[in-house]
Symmetry: C3
Subunit: 353 residues, 3 copies
Amino acid sequence: MVTPRDQRLIESSPNADFAPGWYVVASSKEVGAKPRRFFFNGLPLVTFRDTRGECVALLDRCAHRNAPLSAGQVVGDHIQCLYHGWEFDGAGTCRAVPGLCGEPDHPARRVPSFACRDSQGWVWVYSEPNIEPDGGPYHIPCADEPGYLTIREHLTMPGPLDAVAENALDVPHTAFVHAGLFRKNKDRRPIEVVIRALTDGVEAEFIGERRPEGLAGRLLAPQGGEVFHWDRFLLPCIAQVEYRLGDRSHLVTTAALTPRDATVTDIFATVAVKVPIPNLALRTVFKPVAMRILHQDTEILRRQTEQVQRFGKEEFASTEIDVLGLRIKKLLREAAAGKRATAQEERRIKMLV
Amino acid sequence: MVTPRDQRLIESSPNADFAPGWYVVASSKEVGAKPRRFFFNGLPLVTFRDTRGECVALLDRCAHRNAPLSAGQVVGDHIQCLYHGWEFDGAGTCRAVPGLCGEPDHPARRVPSFACRDSQGWVWVYSEPNIEPDGGPYHIPCADEPGYLTIREHLTMPGPLDAVAENALDVPHTAFVHAGLFRKNKDRRPIEVVIRALTDGVEAEFIGERRPEGLAGRLLAPQGGEVFHWDRFLLPCIAQVEYRLGDRSHLVTTAALTPRDATVTDIFATVAVKVPIPNLALRTVFKPVAMRILHQDTEILRRQTEQVQRFGKEEFASTEIDVLGLRIKKLLREAAAGKRATAQEERRIKMLV
Amino acid sequence: MVTPRDQRLIESSPNADFAPGWYVVASSKEVGAKPRRFFFNGLPLVTFRDTRGECVALLDRCAHRNAPLSAGQVVGDHIQCLYHGWEFDGAGTCRAVPGLCGEPDHPARRVPSFACRDSQGWVWVYSEPNIEPDGGPYHIPCADEPGYLTIREHLTMPGPLDAVAENALDVPHTAFVHAGLFRKNKDRRPIEVVIRALTDGVEAEFIGERRPEGLAGRLLAPQGGEVFHWDRFLLPCIAQVEYRLGDRSHLVTTAALTPRDATVTDIFATVAVKVPIPNLALRTVFKPVAMRILHQDTEILRRQTEQVQRFGKEEFASTEIDVLGLRIKKLLREAAAGKRATAQEERRIKMLV
């Protein structure tokens, strides 16, 4: 049940085009018996584990005098405020008002609570308070499956969710921002891109692509071979890049994006990779290359975000090779407005890669 | 006389619920022949003493090009602007325009002036410009009376006036924020609290209280005995805690609260204490204990204020043991709107202490 | 041609009373083949030289995803964005969209361009995008003429353009802010000031002035003699002080003022001076005196600007000896509104100097 007060809470959040659903807020091992504050679309929430090991999430604001509950402590299954010692259970019900003769529970003394789940190494929180959602969090493909090296990383990017998603799924920038790592701006040849709607999402399939140039390509497919490549966005927050190179190499990078506020996005990335080289060698090379790519993307996103803030709004021109950016914005806008995604026909374009 | 321009000045100040009256702005010894700037509900004012030793207070803004008068110097009974040398007397009248052939005084060249008094070691300023108020500043009880050790301190707290006043007069938080100094959250027993209206104020009397636990209690009443305890708020700005322990110990802490702006409050505290231990011993122990308490209150007020700023407003739930907080807000709101305090019946509640 | 999008751009700039025209944005030698970002009334622009050595200026925002073009590089006559490699020529036309099969040029992919000229050692930019103005930049008198030592300096002042212009052309403040360098606040005698309209400007002529007191006076006119002194403001941005002392000394300081944003103004100053002392001696003494004056003006402008920001608006009272300040504001306001300057009669006043 969303009360009017909770509704106002949501509407005051900074990002207008915020799609309801499950979002990652931390790795499972980061959440324990100590309260942990995080920001979720501008709202401070607090998460902790109760005595059964279940993670819970509440608005990080005591119902009494608005102190942050995360500054208090967990007492049994309750979180205790540091100001007057009020205690709340995982459902946000007030369980103690020290000094009061009488019942602590009262509707005005409840703290909004958010459904919270452990799944595949991450803690997921549902975006709307005080409801029990029908479905569960997104299932990340290939993670921890036999033969797959699985790497999890938490990063923070200076940009709104849609800009970070577009950047993560954008092919043309790689020849410039990551010059020498993926592709070069020379010897280009046309490939075909098929853009098709998925349930609550969109996918671009790249047909006829050569093995990526440079170090990243040699790392992912040392043996060469045919390249299959898909980029996907899935509501509310999943940006996914999948590569198959020949029979033996398979890479799925699934980034769960969480808006910290209107201009900062957390990335909770799961990389599942199967390649015919030893995992130890892969790990050794993968990390520095991935870090260099991420550093380059961080820099350009920071610049872009500063510009949009300075001018007060985005003023974007797009071409047909911006295959996913506008679709991501549309999906988010419709989901935020409570509408189902409008049907989109399959579209095929040529791109010089 | 409040001119329309002065009225706009007051309305532009940041704290909507600002009660008119006398406020402390400095200790008497801090104000001399050198101009001293201070902030009063968001407005910069300047205070200095004239050649007769009288303190005066003006808006700290030259009528000419708005330079801060406090950056200039006192010349005889006038304050001289550092930009073009304009001079103003203690009433804000322009007395010199260097270079001008003709009369310096003109209505457009006046600077708003504020009634200003020395009283009991503090400089008090009346909140409305250009009027001579009927009454004088509040009289602080017991200060400098025979047998009383009197200590004055100026502190700054990160919170609005009403939150600082509630914190200063609040009993339930002491078992948590000051755990071990006053009271503990165990072995509680019910006491009676009588809440009664005073002229332009409100008082809570605590009946049946044990001597405070912990160090503060042992300090204030080494001999034990019956405890009398009152907490009071008096418009516009006085928060007062009075303890009588047996016949021989008496403590009155009077905090004059001045809003520096909407989220920072200056506390000008006068502690008058009579106890059967030597003043030197009292001074030695009192300061570190008081500083520890104040540091703990500063931390919680800072957290509370940050939360309210982040959410854009207070969202407070109260219980009957929040005996003064809502009454303080109501008194301030009514005084700010120019209304007399509405009659409040005496109320008795039980509190576990 | 100003498109509706360009018009919105201009209207979103921070300074409402911004007069159209030519402004200096850098010294000619600061602009080369490397892109250089600067701020012009709140807008980031980028300037660079093409292969023919001509300087060009564009809005510093890629039409595609709004990255700053200044973070990219100059490739031939184009500037290339660092995000996706889009290229723009000096007119703002899109010349390359790497990866796109088809024509890069499209109206939505144009970047606003600003007319740009080298003149007298400075790079001047016209304030309105996408038009070729009829006239050229202001001609600075005496600069680089035979017999004149010419000094150019770029400074930054903490104040809006009109406050910086008034300060630069204001006589009465010199006895206070620059006490001991120009004039003193004693032994004053009346002189006559004639204030007359110029085409798109205003001039104050000071008649009967003694040689300035103090070090600055001795420096400018070691031989004494009759003093002629004019202060001028010329739309949109020229503040000029001219002194003739006897037959042999002549000083014209021409400050081209460029609003960086609503509260910071760049000063591009050209000092042309002819005095009967060796240029080397002049240079040696001039710089420290000028720097001291400028430091003093910086301090007072910073204080004034902070005050106006704090109160949210200017609340200025003026007298007849504020000979140019109100006229400068009126000229800027009328020019910003697209009106011709209203006719002003010649006015004569007395001032004690």
